[in-house]
Symmetry: C2
Subunit: 340 residues, 2 copies
DNA sequence: CTGAAAGCGCTTACAG
DNA sequence: CTGAAAGCGCTTACAG
């Protein structure tokens, strides 16, 4: 810096307030009780000098950075955008900033973040892991503070999730109640080798609902979706049509998959909800604005973000307490795509 | 840290390689030429000890953090999601990490970031300012490295933009060529007091196209949109219908506005493109998957992100060079919403 | 409740 | 091209 006055330091503040640097530190960090009049003098000096603590120096000393990482597979999806939006808001309210990471294109990044969080100058990680089997959470047992989001089947780490089995059951049951009998599961497939925990659970719920109605599962009606996006949904719908099997409803495992599938059905002159009923998961904003609007599973996204951030902050403060799980309630939102 | 071995430091590496800490630093930073065999020995020691530099210590010494901030008004929009996605990718390729900030809900944050970037431990900011008149860029002249994205009318700072005037002209001309005569501009309004530079420019292009075709601008056909989102587009469409004036096309100033408007038109039994033609701006992924798919203005988003990051890195390296402007080319993508 | 000293792990001058 | 010393600005023990 060539221009401008030198930034004030704790020393300057201490000198002006007539105390030691240690006392300034105590006031700034509110760790111990400081006598009110001392406190006042320090704060006045801070104000006068425009003192802002140097976070690099603080980090160097105490190992905390005030930064949490949010690592998601694909940042470009509507669901990711909403998670980022809310996590940033909640983190700010808690005095933390958020560093964003994307893991799908660069799988090593996921491992790297979790195995060397300290080296990356972050206090902890909120992670939506890509694949269950790849997740090093399972292997490594000396972890930094980590909160997993999404339905991951392991028990060493704090988690925020929704009950995907139950949700999968509910949407399928809804379709059965509306008269559908040949219901497609779009996103999971029995026996898929690289299935995610989420897809496995949603598929289980789907199977349970079918079984309750005395309907046997038909592998022809299970379509695997590699990329849970609109493109993936469009490809899956094309694959489904190519199988040339009858169907009267689709349970899409995310709203994005549903949007992609809807587009392809429309191109083929298949009407939703006229010919085929359709449901999604997530209730992204577009679900409400599509024509037809999309029946889907909604969750309290703010509660979701808040739980993730707060679990992480708790974990940062106490590394030894047992892992906790927070389940966020969900509900079925019925819209045009299942209403004839 | 109670468990695990102590992290290796430059000292450890220096001792193992039989050199001074300074030489280790020289090798790690590639600032000066180091004799190949010395270099090899140092790198071997780094490898053996798993040495990773402590970035807090580095920052404390040299003032750089390796962090850039990306500050957008609203993170939940599709356009934001895509910008975040691409900026994070490009920044990683350049060895930087990205801190995300949202400014619409917390307007002070914009000022704070730009006026005290150093205090926030960031090397620079990529900023999409909310309102022209609020932007402190105009007032302050001792700025940290800043790159503005979007059409901001000022010349003190590096900028990445598209030619919104020309784009506004092109979509309007396209609609005129398809026979539309009563074309609504949805997003800007002549004389709006808190108009953004973007909305002003798109409106100017719209006016120019009308003028070229000998059509007089009609204030009844200009609808102001407060929030450039689907909700805002839906509200604007409701407002337009309430005016009870004839129209045969809509130039929406973003794709999101178009989606919101499409939904309301559909609810009122107005067909796109049957009764009304519609265009957007941005070419977000949904534009392709809507029914009908949306005619819109596309830009090379990767080039956009790359230009923003690279301008910023150049600025961080050299604070004194004159401000630069990078214009990203755009093109009209014609789809179903303007094809009868 | 507050002070004086030491040190977190780097890199910047200053020498050679 | 490399070394020995100093210091970036905080906070952590250690005293009192």
């Amino acid at each position: 810096m060539t221009r401008g006055p030198r930034r004030a330091t704790v020393k300057d503040v201490a000198a002006l307030a007539g105390v030691s640097p240690k006392t300034v530190s105590n006031v700034m960090n509110e760790t111990v009780f400081v006598r009110p009049d001392t406190r006042e003098r320090v704060l006045a000096a801070v104000e006068e000098l425009g003192f802002v603590p140097n976070l690099s120096a603080r980090s160097l000393r105490n190992g905390r950075t005030g930064v949490i990482a949010l690592a998601l597979p694909d940042l470009a999806t509507a669901f990711s955008a909403d998670v980022v939006h809310r996590v940033v808001q909640v983190a700010h309210e808690r005095g933390m900033v958020v560093q964003i990471e994307e893991t799908a294109a660069e799988p090593k990044r996921e491992y790297d973040l979790v195995s060397r969080a300290r080296e990356h100058q972050i206090d902890g990680v909120i992670l939506n892991p890509i694949r269950l089997k790849d997740s090093i959470i399972v292997h490594d047992d000396q972890l930094p503070p980590v909160v997993l989001i999404g339905e991951v089947e392991q028990h060493k780490v704090d988690r925020v999730l929704i009950d995907s089995r139950q949700a999968g059951y509910e949407v399928t049951k809804h379709l059965l109640e509306r008269g559908a009998r040949r219901i497609v599961a779009m996103g999971g497939e029995t026996g898929a080798t690289d299935a995610t925990a989420t897809s496995i659970q949603r598929l289980e719920g789907y199977h349970r609902a079918l079984a309750e109605h005395g309907i046997e599962a038909d592998p022809q009606l299970e379509v695997y979706v590699e990329e849970w996006s609109m493109v993936g949904g469009a490809e899956a719908a094309a694959e489904l049509l190519a199988r040339d099997t009858g169907f009267d409803a689709i349970v899409a495992f995310t709203d994005s998959i549903a949007f992609g599938a809807l587009h392809v059905l429309d191109e083929h002159g298949i009407s939703v909800p006229g010919d085929v009923l359709m449901t999604g998961f997530d209730d992204v904003e577009h679900a409400r604005f599509m024509n037809p609007s999309l029946t889907t599973i909604a969750l309290d996204r703010h509660a979701f973000a808040e739980a993730a951030v707060d679990l992480l902050l708790t974990r940062i403060a106490d590394r030894t307490s047992p892992p906790r799980v927070v389940a966020i309630p969900h509900e079925l939102v019925v819209r045009g795509s299942t209403t004839r």
